[in-house]
């Protein structure tokens, strides 16, 4: 962090010569930047690369608390992965995850887009409404889970009480094997539609006024205006927002933990939850690591896709 202004001054024959042109100053600058970058990169490597490598290594062993010495037992390195392929509960969890992800991402895109279009006008009230609409996504996920546990628990639920009063009593949605997953999808959509809404609002603000005005003069209605003018502008944003939600949907946990515990049976047990159960309820750390490794691979593929799309968009602009 120390600097040597005096030595630099001696190197400056003309007072306004760009310092970048001086090799000595450049070297010094590079050294200073490297000093600023190094601690963060070092810590990041230790806390992210380290665990990832450890995870991979553990996934090649049968490690569990009963056999503590199996941490370095590589006699059957792909054993866990072979088990995975024949593990009905794992395959079921992937299917549950797929259903949940498709439903929530679709709903969040649709509702987020709808609300964004509604709020995309300049009034003080709508400005305030935007801030209020983001509440669900900033709430601690555990609070979201508590909120929806109340809604889905017949004793205390305003929903169930109203239905009872109307003479339409229903079972608790989260106890019904056919509906539990959709109950979670509703809660998850509530939590995250503000994210797509904010991204779409930001994109709508970038749409120039001229084509909209021109279309209006030509007599375009609301639907035509959206279909031919707005939609082409915000389509890339929708794709990126959807991918981000898709990646995050793979991490779903607190809602499932509090609302259903993966049940009834395993109908709401997503892969993330199954990895948690294997690793921390049963302590099959080796097997849990294999499941987590498969998840990391999936997430990396999706992230790569986000990076590609983003690069393509920048090229188009």
């Amino acid at each position: 962090m120390t600097t040597e202004p005096s030595s630099l001054e001696r190197l400056l024959p003309a007072p306004r010569r760009a310092p970048a042109a001086l090799p000595h100053w450049r070297r010094e600058q590079a050294r200073a930047f490297a000093t600023g970058l190094a601690p963060a990169l070092f810590v990041l490597a230790v806390i992210t690369l380290g665990p990832t490598v450890y995870l991979l290594v553990t996934s090649l062993t049968p490690l569990d608390p009963v056999h503590p010495h199996s941490a370095l037992d590589f006699s059957d390195p792909v054993g866990n992965y072979r088990t995975l392929l024949g593990d009905g509960r794992f395959l079921n969890s992937v299917w549950v995850q797929t259903k949940l992800s498709v439903a929530t991402v679709g709903l969040q895109l649709a509702i987020g887009l709808g609300v964004a279009l509604l709020l995309n006008a300049g009034s003080r009230f709508l400005e305030t409404a935007r801030t209020a609409f983001i509440l669900p996504m900033v709430l601690p996920p555990i609070v979201v889970a508590v909120i929806w546990k109340v809604i889905f628990t017949p004793d205390v639920s305003p929903l169930h009480r109203s239905l009872d009063a109307l003479g339409l009593p229903v079972r608790s949605l989260i106890a019904d094997p056919d509906l539990a997953l959709w109950a979670i999808a509703v809660a998850d959509t509530w939590e995250w539609f503000p994210f797509t809404m904010l991204m779409v609002l930001a994109a709508l603000q970038m749409v120039p006024d001229e084509p909209i005005d021109a279309a209006r003069i030509d007599g375009a209605g609301r639907i035509a205006l959206f279909r031919y003018i707005l939609y082409p502008y915000i389509r890339p944003t929708l794709v990126v927002a959807g991918l981000f939600r898709l990646i995050d949907s793979i991490k779903a946990f607190p809602l499932i933990y509090v609302l259903t515990n993966g049940g009834p049976g395993t109908v709401t047990e997503v892969t993330n939850y199954y990895a948690f159960v294997e690793s921390f309820n049963f302590s099959y750390w080796g097997y849990g690591s294999a499941i987590a490794t498969v998840m990391v691979a999936g997430v990396l593929m999706l992230s790569w896709l986000v990076g590609r799309l983003d690069a393509e968009q920048q090229r188009d602009e």
């Binding site: 990832t52 983001i134 601690p140």
Partner: protein, 268 residues
């Protein structure tokens, strides 16, 4: 933009009410008397009994842990991340893009992938159920966030000002301290608040890596459910206390929310 009609304002208000209703329901539940919980009438005598009950239990300790861990994680990630972000913004070196991608990837990884190795390592070195252990694991998502957000903010500070300072003999880091950092101060505040919110909101890591001593407030709420029976009033009061600081802060960082949550994935 054209001025919205009354119809648009009205429908926005109606939708907003529907969206906020579940949260408001929990809020009113927290002010109800024990016996009143199952009463659906909207008019009732509010009471602070549930909050009082929380205050005499173990909950304040968990809330304190949440504050310490969140503040600690925020401070440490800013301390490490801000200089790194500045270097990434100003220093043109090869592999700069690859480095940025790597930092983004660390943020995308599912938490369960980190918890297994961290759990095993913490058990070995004795960091399980410690505040320090929680601060360290929160760096896994906060540090990348700080680097990305602050790099964006530094990119917005004109280079010319520092170049002038450099010519006048200032070193890289004194230019950073005296020019770039003060100009990026609003960004620094927003980044700090976002780090705090993300750490405060964490449930998954705390559930697995803490037991009693370092238990944070979100885990304490779940324990009300599992070990103390279904005391809805108390659960709702705990939920309200945990969400309050976040609600207050979020108004302040709304503009940066998307940028923070997508951390480098989208250009603005």
């Amino acid at each position: 933009m054209n001025r919205p009609s009354a119809l648009i304002n009205l429908s926005a208000a109606a939708i907003l009410l529907v969206v906020l209703f579940p949260a408001l329901w929990m809020l009113q539940l927290s002010f109800r008397q024990g016996g009143d919980i199952f009463d659906m009438r909207l008019v009732f005598v509010p009471t602070l009994d549930n909050y009082r009950a929380l205050w005499t239990g173990l909950f304040p300790g968990s809330l304190g842990n949440s504050v310490i861990v969140s503040l600690g994680a925020t401070a440490l990630s800013l301390l490490l991340g801000v200089p790194a972000a500045y270097a990434l913004s100003r220093w043109r070196f090869r592999r700069r893009r690859a480095l940025a991608l790597w930092i983004l990837a660390t943020r995308m990884a599912p938490p369960v992938a980190y918890t297994i190795p961290f759990f095993l390592a913490y058990r070995f070195v004795g960091l399980l159920d410690t505040l320090l252990g929680m601060v360290i694991i929160y760096l896994t998502f906060n540090l990348a966030l700080v680097v990305f957000m602050m790099r964006n903010f530094f990119d917005g500070v004109p280079r010319a000002l520092e170049e002038a300072a450099w010519i006048d003999g200032a070193g890289v880091w004194s230019g950073f301290r005296r020019i770039a950092l003060p100009l990026a101060a609003p960004g620094l505040a927003a980044t700090g608040v976002l780090c705090f919110i993300l750490s405060w909101n964490d449930f998954f890591y705390a559930l697995i890596l803490t037991r009693t001593k370092a238990m944070t407030a979100p885990v304490a709420i779940v324990n009300f459910m599992q070990y103390e029976g279904w005391e809805w009033g108390k659960i709702a009061a705990g939920g309200t206390l945990v969400m309050l600081p976040v609600v207050a802060f979020s108004v302040f960082v709304r503009r940066y929310l998307v940028r923070g949550l997508t951390a480098g994935g989208v250009k603005e």
